[in-house]
Amino acid sequence: MSPTPSERALSSLTHRVVLVDDDAADRLLFVDSVRHADAGLRVTAVPGLDELGELMSAAEPPRCVVLDLGLSGLGGLDTLNVVLERHPDVAIVVLTGWGDEEAGAAAVARGAQDYLVKGRASGEVIVRSIRFAIERKRYQVAVVALESSRLREAEQARLERALLAVPAVERNDLRVDIRYQAARPGLVSGDFCDVVECADGSVRAVIGDVSGHGSDEAALGVALRSAWRALVLAGLDGAATIDALDSLIRKERVAGDEFATICDLSLTADLGAVTVRSAGHPQPVLAGMGVLVDSSLSTPAGVDLPGDRARTGTTHPLPDRWELVLFSDGLFEVRDRSTGLMLDVCAVEPAVLQLADSAHLDPDTLIAAFADRTDEGWRDDVAVVLISRIS
């Protein structure tokens, strides 16, 4: 039977192969028959697992281990388990004793790629088995990698959904628009936001950002966001809420030095006033009016508050119609192409005013306005919340 094209392609590749067998005569026989059958397989033989370990830690380790299940000492499937554990990336063909094909099948079920009955396989059969084991292993490794990257993406999507809750606002005189944009697709960090209407008609909003980038920070952001909603629904005011989040982050942080900037807004039920409390977070911008400053601005949650400070917040009156923008620092931390310098928080207010004047203020146009100013792309995740009083 002549080889198929894919078999010819396979047989042209050179691979290192190692036999583990404690019988010296069997080793000689095996090496000899493989060399005769396929010059592309560079085969060596060792008597035990210690010698195998040395070979596997070499610069160019073997791609396939042919393992005699009849090794003295451990023996049987225990030998296989050791090799699987120590060398997870190598293809394995096991050799079973005459009449012990069950052990071969069991070995394949555990993770070996193939088995051969010792002394019954010709050189050609051995070589075919080795080459197919290498390809099968390569395929299995690729499938595992693909699966784990799918899981990672799904995990990131879950985190992203959890970081921005669906706003819980029933009143029809308010519109809430939230946008979250990851700096790189499929990778979120710890920006979080939420808007909730309380039983008495007052409305609370939050935006925050956990320092650093990564899944741990994102998970911390999720914990803070859901805790914020729970605390607000339980009736805590802004100051007590931020204090509670401060103790939460101290208990939940992984690295030990994470902190979170948080800006909490309380709107009165008649929507006539807003109290801004910022723990180190950029303060919101009211379109046409400017930055709503919190004169009691405090340190971020998780950072010690200097002595006599309290998060009292600052209350601002609101006009009949208004648009309020909350944002994370990812929005403005971009390099301005005209100056070559990084923008800072001062760039947000004029951008909001300009868009509000042209009646195109929404989270997407605001994000696009900053994207237009840079050639570098985003450095950090961007969260933008627009709350508008529409009647």
Binding site: S211, D329, G340, L341
Partner: protein, 114 residues
């Protein structure tokens, strides 16, 4: 006019137990670990130049054009580390944009010498 940001650089000076760190360039995700390392070096009692216990660490950010939250995290972690050794760590000088950021994050008081 377009300016090229200064290449990142950091220097730790030792005058007995008085240590100072000068930073040039932008402190972001990629350079913050170097700032953290420099603070760690400054807080080590025994250095190549000195075997005296650390008394204070001052950080000069006047040539830093930009610092992000990773940089703030390095400063705050350094401050806690210093405090646990009974050492004062402070930012003694900052560029206008760094000053704005420290103010906007409520950290200027905490990180200032005082």
């Amino acid at each position: 006019m377009s300016v090229t940001p200064l290449p990142f650089g950091i220097e730790v000076r030792t005058d007995g137990g008085v240590r100072s760190i000068a930073v040039v360039g932008e402190v972001d995700m990629s350079t913050a670990p170097m700032l953290a390392d420099a603070i760690g070096t400054a807080l080590a009692d025994e250095t190549a130049q000195s075997a005296q216990p650390v008394v204070s660490v001052s950080i000069d950010l006047s040539s830093v054009g930009f610092i992000d939250s990773s940089g703030l995290r390095a400063l705050l972690a350094g401050r806690s580390h210093a405090e646990s050794q009974g050492v004062r760590l402070s930012v003694v000088s900052a560029s206008p944009s760094v000053t704005r950021l420290l103010e906007a994050t409520g950290l200027s008081e905490l990180l200032a010498g005082g």
